[in-house]
């Protein structure tokens, strides 16, 4: 067990390798109940959240979810989050380590009619992720839920809010279930999928799969000192939607071009680039590794690095400090791997003409 944002979380249940491969080839079940969950309600909740977040909530109708950033006045990322539009108000899922900070920030800016309610401890959250997740989740009607859509349903007879979202690059579902029932749902889902190869998956597999999909991890790949464009998340910034916190700064960054960029690196087997490792090119220091791991699925180590803008492009080679020496790395296109969520996002794009979560700058 490891401490993760104040929660005791399993790094692995059996083996990170087996759990990682299960998510890529069949499906894996993650307990992500540590993530913060808020309900935002009130007459002016659309205007309130529009002023706080970078993406355009006017694009969302009831039953849809959206990836979003909450930025400070400098355009730095306070947190990345997913916003769900319900029939009355919104539901917001934030990073565990930022829950209290986000809650304080949102409440400090909320007008009188807005209520920001922390529901983290009333609801459990499970993520069932993998190419076979639709077949193997014991639930009817999943084919009716589009990518980044959500609805109500019964999972193994237990009431759940089911959203077709995730953090692995695979097709999959996130299930909001009342805390007193979530343990039963966990057991039933694993029992139902066991013979097909479904495994419970821990933080190790979660980190490896999200990194292959180049999904940013707040605290590693970005934080309040990294702006949305530097993090490669400019597609979530809708400068034309009206005013929001950070808009002015972000407009300037967009006009001048970001000073740093996030790039993908592929390393030689055994050369695992860890968070904070120095990156150089042509003998000149240009940045640091923000996330790195060995990908059991791809068979080589991968890393994200924050480097000076225009210092590297796809096809270039760079040097990364590994165990006190310089290891060669190839700059590769992001994401490192496109899982089964790809076909879904393409379907969705054609329907709504909107970019998907997996689009990379």
């Amino acid at each position: 067990m490891v401490d993760f944002g104040g929660w005791d979380m399993p790094q692995q249940y059996s083996s990170i390798r087996d759990e990682h491969l299960a998510v890529r080839q069949v499906a894996g079940l993650f307990d992500v109940s540590h993530m913060g969950r808020f309900r935002v309600a009130g007459d002016s909740c659309v205007e309130f959240l529009q002023g706080l977040l970078t993406n355009d909530l006017a694009l969302l109708v009831h039953g849809q979810a959206q990836y979003n950033l909450m930025c400070n006045e400098q355009g730095g990322v306070i947190d990345d989050l997913v916003v769900y539009r319900g029939s009355e108000g919104f539901f917001v899922v934030v990073n565990a380590s930022n829950r209290e900070k986000d809650l304080e920030w949102m409440r400090s800016l909320a007008p009188k009619d807005i209520e920001v309610e922390d529901r983290t401890f009333e609801l459990g959250l499970l993520a069932f992720q993998g190419p076979r997740s639709e077949d193997l989740l014991p639930c009817e009607g999943l084919d009716q839920i589009p990518y980044f859509g959500f609805g109500q349903g019964d999972v193994a007879g237990i009431h759940a809010l089911i959203s077709r979202t995730g953090y692995t690059g695979e097709d999959g579902f996130e299930l909001f279930i009342s805390s007193d029932k979530v343990g039963d749902a966990w057991d039933a889902i694993l029992e139902h999928g066991r013979s097909a190869g479904v495994l419970p998956a821990g933080l190790g597999a979660r980190d490896a799969t999200r990194l292959e999909a180049a999904l940013r991890l707040w605290g590693n790949d970005m934080d309040e000192t990294v702006n949305a464009y530097e993090a490669g998340l400019g597609w979530t910034v809708k400068l034309d939607k009206g005013d929001f916190i950070g808009r002015e700064a972000l407009q300037r960054v967009k006009a001048e071009g970001p000073r740093r960029q996030l790039v993908g690196l592929k390393l030689q087997p055994g050369d695992i680039a860890r968070h904070g490792a120095a990156v150089s090119a042509g003998g000149r220091p240009i940045g640091v590794v923000t996330s790195g791991t060995h990908s059991f699925f791809l068979g080589y180590p991968i890393a994200l690095a924050m480097v000076q803008a225009r210092s590297l492009q796809v096809g270039d080679t760079a040097s990364v400090e590994v165990r006190g020496r310089d290891a060669g790395a190839d700059v590769v296109k992001l994401p490192f791997y496109r899982g089964s969520a790809r076909s879904l996002s393409e379907k969705k794009e054609s329907r709504h003409g909107r970019p998907s979560l997996h689009q990379d700058a």
């Binding site: 790094q11 990170i16 190790g204 695992i272």
Partner: protein, 125 residues
């Protein structure tokens, strides 16, 4: 195995006459998680007791490997280059790391099974 001895840094050693086999303990592999790579020396190199002789990379971290005894490296487990996971599946058997020709006496601070167990219980809590 009665003649297997341990170090506080979680290596093990078995001795047969002038020959020693070394590896990392079951506790060490379980703490490291899946091993993905080992950086190992070549046969012929002389190691002092407590000398760092290599690095083991798991998904979680890179850790130094220390020689539990002094000697010249007679053999390196070549299988680990392609199958580092042997360290996880069979740390005391197929997952051995080096064979040494011993030089000098065994260090006096090697631990027996019961003593090592106490070390692991202390670091697990």
């Amino acid at each position: 195995m009665a003649d297997r001895r341990y170090t506080k840094t979680h290596e093990w050693v078995t001795v047969d006459g002038k020959h020693a086999t070394i590896g990392i303990t079951d506790f060490a592999q379980s703490q490291l998680g899946d091993v993905v790579f080992l950086e190992l020396p070549s046969a012929g190199r002389k190691l002092a007791s407590r000398e760092t002789f290599g690095v083991i990379e798991s998904v979680k971290a890179a850790s130094d490997l220390y020689a539990p005894v002094a000697g010249r490296i007679a053999e390196v487990n070549e299988k680990l280059a392609s199958k580092p996971e042997l360290i996880n599946s069979d740390p005391y058997g197929e997952g051995w790391i080096l064979k040494l020709e011993l030089s000098g006496d065994l260090p006096s601070d090697l631990l027996d099974e019961a003593e090592y167990k106490k070390v692991t219980e202390a670091s697990a809590s």
